[in-house]
Symmetry: C2
Subunit: 217 residues, 2 copies
Amino acid sequence: MDSATVLALAREQGFRCYALSLDYGQRHRSELHAARQVASALGAARHEIIRLDLSQFGGSALTDHTLAVPMAGAQIGIPLTYVPARNTVMLALAMSWAETLDAQNIFYGANAVDYSGYPDCRPEYVAAFERMANLATRAAVEGRPTQIHAPIIALSKGDIIRTGLRLGVDFAMTVSCYQADDAGRACGRCDACRIRAQGFIDAGVPDSTRYQQPYGI
Amino acid sequence: MDSATVLALAREQGFRCYALSLDYGQRHRSELHAARQVASALGAARHEIIRLDLSQFGGSALTDHTLAVPMAGAQIGIPLTYVPARNTVMLALAMSWAETLDAQNIFYGANAVDYSGYPDCRPEYVAAFERMANLATRAAVEGRPTQIHAPIIALSKGDIIRTGLRLGVDFAMTVSCYQADDAGRACGRCDACRIRAQGFIDAGVPDSTRYQQPYGI
């Protein structure tokens, strides 16, 4: 839902949008299918899925299938579902594509509030990445610097949902669950599901998430 | 030859080395085969080749097979063989693997002298990347910062060759040519070949490069 809302915000600002997804060996593929649907529904000019098998490195419950997905509710500290440097890899790929497209604006769906345990979702990280990017690329050296936008970094999950709904995002299309089924239906029990469900409560709107059935029996 | 010399330098400093190559859709695969041989010969603990198809983005003569490799000799400015943000993508992947290994030292074979046209081979880029990395990862947040080493960044190609030879690098194993054949033999005509051949002349040692035959007929 974060990525969908960020795409809707970029479109609202008048940008022609090139959407990038990373197939990094995550447990389920339905989030990639959902990303394609969302990109199309929100009018992205193009959507690319880059395949990169981070499970060769291991070290995260999202890619290392021998580790269990945490179910005990959101905890203090950085969760086991942290994928080492995944967001830096994704932003580096976005840099590469942006330079090829001669695009100077990269939108990053990081959110510091609900996932405060992830260091690469903090504003100081985004600023440091932008500074690095502007020393890295031919475009920047030639006077076309890159700006990293992180428009939802300070929003609560409830605010993100309200923003997305205002811009016409259909959250039933989006997948947050760490272990969604092939149809993109959520487990309702993992940390990502708990945070998402609380967001709908905080936003004061019905939860449009498609849950797996039967549920809670 | 830069990567091989950097690996030899890291080993000389006593590091247990994990070598990373990127299969990014480059024209020829023999440099990956060469990397595996070099990693083994120089005592790397492990060598991983990560596949990532940057040709989905296009924009470089090294990945876009519709663009010609420049042959006119090294020129002023950033060459067409620049792959957008490739080194940033590689360093991001190195960050990911390093964090998984709990390793705090990343060795980067950038060289500012011979490739002065590449912005991501400058010391200020390396410093900015290190700063970003130390805001990005769980390891850094928990007090185990990453150091990016760029030990050959200020060396001439001749100095790199002398350093490598002192440490036992067999440069006949290494591939620099942008269009080497399947056996890793060099064309002798592209910019990478010219810079490499000049390096052997500057170092005052015989050129151990394996060239394609017949040559110059």
